[in-house]
């Protein structure tokens, strides 16, 4: 492993004629980092991944993987990465084991032992044709094909789609092991809970543009907290409206709920002037933060 960024994009853009794909994406994924890539369907996640893999060519900008140009050096790059496409398929009649053998030959390695080990771990059937497997069991084969050669960078597009909760846990354990080994992981997902559990940083993409690239803790730390407070004298609750940063204030009798972001000192000082019967502050989940970015967009 090296100190060179696993992925580095600079103003990466892709347009399909008049249609937007991705615009001006600039971000970096470091070796040994698990990087979550979040966005709803059509936001540009898969376009980004396909551009990194040189399956589609950028309209402008550049992407470098381990310092290599994603277009010019794509073959050399792919020797060092593992990829699980969003809609994994390999032909209905091919058994997983056959796919492993072919990929091993294309990579010039003998990956049979590692593939068997992963198959046992994920309870995957390498002998049955993929067309006879359920979506979740096909996805396990896809995960094996993406990881059996111990790549330095894993690019995973919706990796846990169809996996049962036990296998999702096993997948998260595998990702943690890959990070321990020093591999970088680029994880595109809708499963915000798993992203929150396993990722070091996340990027949020909206309409083809990055709207945030943050450490998860920082993202959550910056997010607005929700407060529920009960005062002995309800009259004091109205004073909360005048505090900068307080929003969504709703008062019911002696209880009030509101959200507050940024510096909370003024909120605490205001409440300290009253007799507080009860106080509860909750941090939003990543899902709420994520949805917040989209609510802002819809609000204009």
């Amino acid at each position: 492993m090296t100190d060179v960024a696993a992925i580095e994009t600079e103003a990466l853009s892709k347009r399909y004629g008049r249609h937007r794909g991705i615009e001006d994406l600039s971000f970096e994924v470091r070796p040994g980092e698990v990087f979550g890539f979040l966005g709803p369907n059509g936001a540009g996640k898969t376009t980004t991944i396909r551009t990194l893999l040189d399956l589609i060519h950028p309209t402008s900008g550049s992407a470098r993987i381990f310092g290599l140009d994603s277009r010019r050096d794509s073959v050399a790059i792919r020797a060092r990465i593992g990829n699980l496409p969003g809609d994994f398929g390999f032909g209905r009649e091919t058994p997983g084991g056959e796919a492993v053998r072919l990929l091993s030959r294309l990579r010039g390695i003998d990956g049979s032992a590692r593939a068997a080990e992963l198959a046992q771990r994920f309870r995957a059937d390498l002998d049955r044709p993929l067309g006879q497997l359920s979506r979740g069991n096909r996805q396990k084969i896809g995960l094996i094909l993406a990881t059996f050669h111990r790549p330095e960078l894993l690019i995973l597009d919706e990796p846990t789609g169809g996996l049962d909760p036990l296998m999702q846990e096993e997948f998260l354990a595998l990702i943690a092991e890959e990070r321990e080994r020093g591999a970088a992981v680029f994880l595109s997902s809708h499963e915000l809970d798993e992203v929150q559990r396993v990722c070091d940083r996340v990027a949020i993409i909206r309409d083809g543009r990055l709207v945030a690239v943050e450490r998860i803790d920082d993202l959550l730390g910056k997010a607005r907290r929700r407060f529920t407070v009960e005062l002995r004298d309800p009259a004091g609750l109205e004073r909360l409206r005048s505090i900068p940063g307080v929003a969504e204030l709703e008062i019911a009798g002696s209880r009030a709920t509101f959200t507050a972001g940024g510096d909370l000192d003024s909120v605490v000082r205001e409440l300290a002037g009253h007799h507080v019967v009860d106080l509860e502050a909750t941090r939003p989940s990543l899902e709420q933060v994520f949805l917040g970015y989209y609510d802002e967009d819809e609000a204009g």
Binding site: Y16, T47, H57, V75, G86, F90, L102, R105
Partner: protein, 263 residues
């Protein structure tokens, strides 16, 4: 040949193993039937042929039907086998490119350190082998039919007749590779190249029927597809069409390298 191309060719041939029998059996059995009935229809055919217009006989390459080789050429090798094999060729090459893209296999293959040009080269090579296998099965069954019926088919000449179809069919695999450089939809690739195959046959036919339009025949590969079962393989045409097929495949690989493999 690189280990990667060998691996892809072997996989392609394994995946399409059934097509060798699916195409070779009907074509072979039909050819066997044609040669097997020749002794019983020889006399009546000769009389019938004498009444055919000269232009029609030239157009369909049936100058005379005085031996089983001429009959096999007229019934199978002048139309059915070349068209069927040309269509099989584009189907086979498309399965390795557009078919792989549609099934998602191409995305997985291209996760490995493999150039797209090698994927095209492997698809083309595998198609060349598959065509040879189908022609071998067809020729073998035809020879067997002759042997069982005592039709007296000359094995060497028949082999040349069937072998001469190979470069012609391969040319359409080359066109298929080019079409895949423009579209990743199997139906578009097979449809457009099958249309080209039929158009070329019709152009050649029209050129042969009307001498004033004979110049059109240069736009059809069928001009270079003779009557090998009677005249032997024309080496220059055989090699020339084979090289043209390879050149088309190389152009297809170049286009395939440059196109987006969109989801």
């Amino acid at each position: 040949m690189s280990a990667q191309v060998r691996a892809l060719v072997a996989t392609h041939l394994y995946d399409r193993r059934r097509s060798v029998l699916a195409w070779g059996l009907p074509l072979g059995l039909m050819s066997a039937f044609i040669v097997a009935i020749f002794p019983s229809v020889e006399e009546s055919l000769s009389k019938a042929i004498q009444g055919y217009p000269q232009g029609l006989k030239e157009a369909f390459g049936i100058g005379e039907l005085s031996n089983v080789e001429q009959y096999l050429h007229a019934e199978m090798l002048s139309l059915i086998v070349p068209l069927a094999m040309g269509y099989l060729a584009v189907r086979a090459v498309a399965s390795g490119l557009t078919g792989a893209a549609e099934s998602g296999r191409l995305d997985v293959l291209l996760s490995a350190p493999l150039s797209r040009a090698r994927v095209v080269a492997a698809g083309f090579l595998a198609t060349a082998i598959e065509l040879a296998e189908v022609l071998l099965v067809t020729g073998f069954l035809c020879g067997l039919g002759s042997l069982l019926a005592g039709a007296g088919l000359d094995a060497g000449r028949a082999a040349e007749g069937f072998a001469d179809v190979w470069p012609l069919a391969l040319l359409f695999a080359g066109f298929g590779a080019i079409a895949a450089g423009f579209s990743l939809r199997t139906s578009v690739v097979t449809g457009s190249v099958a249309g080209l195959l039929v158009a070329m046959y019709v152009i050649d036919l029209v050129g042969r029927l009307d001498t004033s339009l004979s110049g059109l025949r240069y736009f059809s590969v069928f001009k270079y597809y003779g009557n090998a079962i009677e005249d032997g393989i024309e080496p220059v045409a055989f090699l020339g069409v084979t090289l043209a097929a390879c050149a088309l495949a190389a152009l297809g690989a170049w286009l395939f390298e440059r196109r987006d493999l969109a989801a």
